[in-house]
């Protein structure tokens, strides 16, 4: 019954049983907070404080607190926005597309990746609101019936498309993520000893009993949601890219942007998932579930998307030269050799050169190297957005208006502040929610755990699905 592949590596190592899985994952939810976790949370809360202060300055005094000017009207705000949205892409890709492609290795990382998606989109959503001159009127971008006369939104505006794209993406991701959490919440509820925990998780698990009917509905809904989310993976960043691509600014007005942005988003999303998972597996002792095989698979995705991004960068240059448009040509030469050359070459180094190291198997399977490179990619992708936004704007058509952008302390505060917000949310998630999808990992235990379960122990948890059809076949 148990099959051990001679070529494939097991996805769960350490001879885990079903019960072990439940224990290992529920452990940090049930145990007292780990000291390392507490320190991390304190740091995250400190940065959250910086965020709150910076937002207060922005809202109270105005956007003038930032470093923007009449030529560069967007800089760190939209850079951060696109960066965070990009990071948010991995979650959906892992949970939806890899689900449809039957990639079993996704099981142990999808929960955290989806959570990361949700938190990244929350961070991203801060920026479109904060960057407005009058954020208290942000609801005007929604097509709401109103008493202002026949005022309506402008459906021609890519910013409006953004509103729809991001809000759809956020709601679908949230539902998908929460849906997957329900069976695991029920497990924790059943194991809980304290009354508060029991109450809380009972509430969160929506009365899940694990009946066949529940599982059947669960399967249906998750498949539908996977189907719905799949186009979103492509659409969200496509639409974000249209903020730039539909404009007239040289360096923005580029048809290659949609695929290039999507590839970049997956690239940065995977890098962020790696960064987080490498920390989580260490802090919460989950090395048997997030194995080197997982890391290697993700590194392969990074090398693919990183190369796509690299090709896109080169294509942009080629087209600028080939088009013969002097503004376009100057925009690209200025990117590489102008006053922001350092940003451009940071981007090239981090995004195009470093991921190529993953062609070496040793590096691909080295936790330390992967962690470092994942940070590089995160930095590189931030610079990519900075380069696209700031270097295109700062020298556009009329040389009289050329200007430089220098971030203010508040710009920096808001950026590091959103990191604080993100990590606060992620750390709370990691402590109070099951970071690994227990029931899905259990489904692959038999097929890919690295040990013969010749006599499957009867310790299998009552709520584990035992009739799943969609993964194992």
């Amino acid at each position: 019954m148990q099959h051990v592949s001679p070529v494939r590596e097991p996805l769960v190592t350490g001879g885990k049983t079903y019960h072990d899985i439940t224990n290992d994952v529920s452990r940090q939810v049930e145990a007292k907070p780990n000291i390392r976790w507490a320190i991390a949370l304190a740091v995250a809360l400190f940065f959250l404080g910086i965020f709150i202060y910076s937002v207060y300055r922005t809202l109270w005094f105005g956007i003038g607190e930032w470093g923007l000017n009449k030529t560069v009207n967007w800089a760190w705000d939209i850079t951060n926005f696109v960066w965070w949205v990009g990071i948010g892409h991995a979650g959906t890709l892992i949970s939806a597309i890899l689900l449809l492609f039957r990639q079993k290795w996704r099981s142990s990382i999808n929960r955290a990746a989806e959570a990361m998606t949700i938190f990244a989109v929350i961070c991203a959503a801060m920026f479109p609101v904060l960057h407005m001159g009058r954020p208290w009127l942000a609801y005007w971008v929604l097509p709401l019936p109103n008493t202002f006369g026949s005022l309506w939104v402008n459906f021609n505006s890519p910013l409006l498309w953004d509103v729809f794209a991001i809000s759809t993406y956020f709601s679908v991701s949230l539902v998908f993520w929460y849906l997957g959490l329900i069976p695991d919440f029920a497990t924790i509820r059943d194991r809980a000893t304290g009354p508060i925990a029991r109450r809380a998780y009972a509430l969160l698990s929506f009365g899940w009993t694990g009946s066949a009917k529940h599982w059947s509905r669960y399967e249906t809904v998750s498949l539908i949601l996977a189907g719905v989310s799949t186009p979103l993976v492509l659409s969200v960043h496509t639409i974000v890219s249209m903020d730039f691509a539909t404009s007239v600014i040289p360096g923005w007005h580029t048809t290659i942007f949609p695929p290039y942005f999507v590839a970049g988003a997956i690239f940065s999303g995977f890098a962020m998932v790696l960064t987080l998972m490498l920390i989580t597996r260490d802090v919460f002792y989950l090395k048997d579930y997030i194995t080197l095989e997982h890391i290697e698979s993700m590194n392969k995705v990074i090398i693919l998307t990183g190369s796509i991004v690299g090709v896109a960068y080169i294509t942009e240059f080629f087209i600028a030269w080939y088009s013969g448009v002097e503004y376009e040509q100057y925009a690209f030469i200025n990117r590489a050799t102008g006053p922001y050359w350092w940003a451009y070459w940071s981007m090239m180094t981090c995004n195009v050169i470093t991921p190529q190291l993953f062609w070496f198997r040793k590096i691909r399977r080295s936790v330390v190297a992967t962690f470092i490179i994942s940070i590089f990619v995160n930095i590189g992708m931030w610079f990519e957005r900075f380069v696209i936004i700031v270097t295109s704007l700062h020298r556009d058509f009329l040389p009289s208006s050329w200007a430089m952008f220098t971030p203010s302390i508040i710009d920096v505060g808001i950026y590091v502040g959103t990191l604080g917000l993100f990590f606060t949310l992620f750390l709370l998630f990691a402590k109070y929610f099951p970071v690994i999808n227990m029931f899905e990992v259990k489904t692959i235990l038999k097929s890919s755990s690295g040990v013969q379960h010749s006599h499957a122990p009867e310790t299998m948890h009552a709520h584990s699905p035992n009739n799943q059809a969609h993964h194992d076949k």
């Binding site: 005094f61 105005g62 956007i63 003038g64 470093g67 923007l68 000017n69 009449k70 030529t71 009207n73 967007w74 479109p128 960057h131 407005m132 001159g133 009058r134 954020p135 009127l137 942000a138 005007w140 971008v141 005022l151 309506w152 939104v153 402008n154 021609n156 505006s157 890519p158 910013l159 409006l160 509103v163 903020d243 539909t246 404009s247 007239v248 600014i249 448009v325 002097e326 503004y327 100057y330 030469i333 200025n334 050799t337 704007l393 020298r395 556009d396 058509f397 009329l398 040389p399 009289s400 208006s401 050329w402 200007a403 430089m404």
Partner: protein, 1026 residues
Amino acid sequence: MQEKIKYWKGLEELENTPEFVRNSQNEFAEFLPVKDKSSSGKNAEVAPRRDFLKLLGFSVAAATLASCEAPVRKAIPYLNKPEEIEPGIANWYASTYFTDGDYNSILVKTREGRPIKIEGNPLSSLTRGGLSPRGQATVLSLYDTTRLPNPVTKRGEKHIDAEWEQIDQEIRTKLGQVNGKVALVSTTIISPSTKQVIREFGAKYPSFEHFVYDPYSVSGLLKANGGTIPGYDFSKAKTIVSFGADFLGAWLSQVEFAKQYITNRKVTKDNPNMSRHYQFEATLSLTGANADVRVPIKPSEEGVAVAALYNRIAQGTGGQVLNTPAFAQTKQLDAAAKELLANRGAALVVSGSNDVAVQTLVRDINRMLGSEGTTINTAAPIYTKQGDDTQMIRFINEMNAGTVGAVIFYNANPVYNHPLADKVVSGLKKVGVKISFADRIDETAVLADYITPDHHPLESWNDFEPRRGYLSLAQPTISPLFKTRQAQDSLLAWSGNNTSYYDYLRNHWRANFAKGGDFNAAWDKAVHDGVLEGVTSAGQTTTATVAPMTMAAAAVAINQTARNSKGIELAIYQKSSIGSGVEANNPWLQELSDPISRATWDNYLAIPRSLAKEMDIQQNDLIRVTAGNGKTIELPALIQPGQARGTVAIAVGYGRTHAGPVANLVGVNVYPLAATNQNGVLYINSVKLEKTGAEKVIAQTQTHHTIMDRNVVQEASLDAYRKNPKEVTEYIKVATPDGPQSPSKVSLWYDYEYKNHHWGMVIDLNSCIGCGSCVVGCASENNTPIVGKQEVLNRREMFWMRIDRYYSSDTHKDTSNLGTIETYQAMEEPSENPQVIFQPMLCQHCNHAPCETVCPVLATTHSSEGLNQMTYNRCVGTRYCANNCPYKVRRFNWFAYYDNEKFAAQNYQMNSDLGRMVLNPDVTVRARGVIEKCSFCVQRIQAGKLEAKKEKRRPKDGEIVTACAQSCPTNAIIFGDMKDPNSQVSQILRREDGERAFHVLEELNVQPNVTYLTKIRNNNLTTTNA
């Protein structure tokens, strides 16, 4: 008998016990027993918790209620409506602006009794409806919060408010007992009546003298020309040669000269002729930027150059040649001489030098060329500057010698703006009575015993005679804001004359300028028109001491100057915005960027690149400048293309210490560095430069100076234009299946249909001289905020209109043999002596506007008349429109600029009750967080259409003009309805189509409603311009 019924409120009142009577006096029967435990001992009553909470609750509630109350704002309605004032309808009054030699006949727009905007008076044949930036801005100075609200006397170091009666009494007594000379020191006065008042006042004293000086003097010019300025007429000149005279800028009469100058500079296919203008100067001036041929020379070379020209003209006309050193740059000088000789009778030579020797030669060059009577109107000499340096220096010496008993300063601030300020200060200590008419406690007034503040000119009656026979009047447009009194009234009062200055003025006119007939009617017409021209006037007698100089003496002097020159030479110049610094506290003028360097809020050391390289000076390095006279200042360096090698330049008008919060400590006072001798002031000196190691950043509104070979601005030579006008403009074509086409032929968008009007603008780059009048006019009309130096440094200036200034570069993409990257880098470097082109840039009101499509909330939309409209209250401030604007003309309200302490000093027009009076009530003051931009003065369009509608007709062409088009002294900006085939705009567009008319960035197919006309340069020295 009716019994009086008494109602009582309670038994206590009925009983009326003494205790009750006592308590009834207190509103609160008994104060809550809150006592501090520690202070009242062990047995004292301790505040019970409940009482404490009661009191706390009451206080919180009371405080909350009190803070809810809205502040009481008093609006006083017109219960008795003044006859002429219709709320919401503007009244216009003709008046005159004259400050610091800058003369403009003006129209003042008042709303509900307060002046809000100044425009040029088209009835004046001198300024012809044009108006200088300073003239535009003076309306804001009226509401300057620093103005003195009442007369003050000085007791010790303190200024004490005084009443007029009391101060008059004291002054009269003191002047009566004065021991020594009574001196009145003023800058140039061109008012015949005021001069009469002063004469009458002076007659009361045994020893009285009126000393006249100008902060930036032209006394050399006056001395060489018999005490007046020759009546230059640039409109008659085909060849103009100027040696350092910034005649389009702050030299003498910028608007008048600009109007004249431009008549011969406008070209059309039918008349492809224009004057040629040679400029020899040290620092790149506005005039030099407009010259066809510009030659950088050292200030000490100016005399040599003039003498060299003199010799060439003398040779050509058979005169005597002088023995002076040779001038190096013969090519341009030969061409100039040849052309001047060929254009005798249509030639004009001017010089900005304050050296009598140089001006004497210039006078004789003009005589030899037959300019007198042609390009110099001998019947109408110019009076706008009359200051005599020699006399002023004598005054300073007399003060120091202790022979001056009393001094009255009228429009004079020598402690700030005279090079010998130290001696003025020391001399003033020896003067018994010191009176100042200053409107604020300025640098000189602070030393005076009495300050009797003058009215602002917009509150005053006065007359002016800028040229002989050209009179104009100023009338009050608002009743005095403060307890000030017109200086003339003060002088009349002190001389015991009880007539008001208004009556005095009328009488003076009746006696001197009445042409017969009904004087009252003639007076009313003159007040209404603001000007009275063709008057037989006795002219003005100036106090300038005329010292005729022989040619030989002039040659000797020039040789001397040339020999004495050593080291780095400093040229001290005036900016057309700040001028001599009188109105330095006007934030519009401080923020109006310099037409050439585009710097704001500062003066700086303009330094040529060669010298910067030699001394390893970077832009913004703080440099210590030590002049030949030992005076030292420190100011930042600005690398100025066009600055002559071995020279540096600094502008006057900055470094005020007592002008008010806007101007104080902005820049450095450079007057003390001017060289002085017995004859006068020379605005040059030799200097030593030292790096201090520190840095002070200059706020420029443009930091990139070359055009990078983009055809954003287009220019061609006059030869090319004459050859084929269809070849002068490069039109972009795009490839289509039907061959190359104009980009507008290929469009994804539907075109708008304009049924009624289609507003458009034409800007002639050939006429724009870059003066910046339009910028101030726009700011004044549209309530744009002033943001101050730091925000300009942050590149957040808010002016809707800007003038882009581009220098030419030596490197061009087509001809460069460098690599691509190096070529681009080299293209960023301006030439050493660049050609300059100005381009007024404002919202282009695109028909396919990129800003309109990207706004998520439809806050910016297209009107049915072609306007790109901005709906401020719909804007949420995403700034996407500003990013997507290829012209970068949209402005964002980064902060609230009104009611904001951070901007209170610079932007007092929106932060003080007094300042707010200047705001145009027809234009919203924009909130924080919204985008704003040029609206094509939509409020004027609406008003014009309404007016026409009331009269049941269509608006006439020229009836609706934008503020920028209205203020342009050279009519470079034409606004009108492109739907009306007979409008000027339509006619120009038809005439110039395919020739000079082009759209900026046509390849983007945004289809602007603003069209530019290619600049034509008459700079081919091989063809003689005759």
